[in-house]
Amino acid sequence: MITVGNDGVRTFEAAGRTDADVAPALRTEGLTAWYGGPNPAIADVNLSVLPNKATAIIGPSGCGKSTALRCLNRMHEVIRGARVAGRVYLEEEDIYAPGVDPVRVRRRIGMVFQKPNPFPMMSIFDNVIAGLRLSGERVKNADEIVWRCLDAVGLWGEVKDKLRSSGSSLSGGQQQRLCIARAIAMEPDVLLMDEPCSALDPIATYRIEELISQLKRRYTIAIVTHNMQQASRVSDYTAFFLAGPDRVGRLVEYGPTEQIFTNPKERRTEDYITGRFG
């Protein structure tokens, strides 16, 4: 059963769908997040991300969709003064439980950012295994890992002859795929993507979208996008966020992508989908 919120958000009854019986890979309960100030940026978000599906988070700018995503692997609290309340369950475990180190959380929930951010002082090779090297031990069969990860993002053929050159020598789209390779080298359970295509041209965007549909066979994906076509192309489920007059972002509606885009239950969702505002 996928229960979503009680603040006016409809509960999605997945009658006859097998997805409904699957335990979510990630589930939030009353997730609320603040930046320095007294008013939260998002409030009481109850969202589920199903395993091996791509879940899109959409909404107009300022609705808190990126904030919500960053709460899912404890990246929000990195910002000075930022604060989070509520729970986020990774399978059965609350990632905000006392005694859970964010380092462990981020190791299992990877992230790809809006702007490609390869480490410019590292080679392409070192970029891929940057995370694995953190444990301090020597990375066994590093060559093989680099090959597999670059192959998985379709970059191997393009960079196999320049593995030693800087990660920043690549084009924007290649850089972003390198960042995805870097994330999946950690073998995460979940991959969070924060508008991964917003800095890319259409062809690079197409390749990333293609990649997402391949990756979801192995990983659970949550992707924030401001592009509704993209959400409808890549995702299985869609969550729609909207900030009210109080400028607090809330989850308005959640459901299978097809239903959200063709038959939304909420008036506000329909307005947004059909471009009546936002």
Binding site: E93, I95, A97, V100, R104, R217, R218
Partner: protein
Amino acid sequence: MAAVSGALVARRPLSQALPGELRRRMVDRIAMSLIASTALLGCAVLLFVVSYVVVRGAPAIDVAFFTEGPKPYGEEGGGVLPAIVGTLSMLLLASAIAIPAGLGTAIYLSEFGRGAFAHAVRFALDLLAGMPSIVIGVFVWSLLVRQVIGRFSGIAGAVALAIIMIPIVSRTVEEILRLVPDALREGSLALGVPRWRTIVGVVLPTARAGVITGVMLSLARAGGETAPLLLTALGNQFLSFDLTSPIASLPVQIYNYAVAPYEDWHTKAWGSALVLVSVIGCLSLVTRIATRRARL
């Protein structure tokens, strides 16, 4: 589904530590403590230096300290009036040179300057700003003390201080002038006001606070300079307003008193240091607060 990298053997629950996590967390803690202690050390050093100056200098401060000249060797009492007068008169003359020159340069760079000449001016200012002050002392000595005037003099000291002040004034003021919105200039020009009156009458007054900041910053810097004065103004035990002959200054006085073997002079040196640090500290504090407010 087969793992892509095969890097992690088994999924660990979040409650369980990762391999090497304990060590990594220790390293993280140690690094944080070390980094915090370096910041603490930096602050402690300032506190240590300033508190010494206050504690050792305060006993020297009395009315005579500001109103009397030094007593002869071995005699207690007296003050540093000649040094205060000397420093003030040299700063006054230095300002008279540096403020117009610095302002003019800043106006040129922000309002007119383009191309290779402006580039060269900026480059020269950068080099002057980074010049060791003793080198400026040697320069002014070879120009004024050796050639034009022919002896150590307050004028030479003031010129050395002015050369130190000019880059500070012009750079601060130029930055502020650039912040003055173009709309203001255009508004005035559109009324038929000539460009030079626009700059003098509209642009400069708008940037008034920045101009004052620049001047105060440069005074704070020049007021504490010692090395160039040693080579130009030399120093003088007696009260003198004559800038064409050697003249005392607080920094040089501190140096002479510190290296002399008299306890009373050491106290005077600390007292002078206290005066210098207080004045310069206040100047810096005020400018700091002013620029902070301007930025917000």
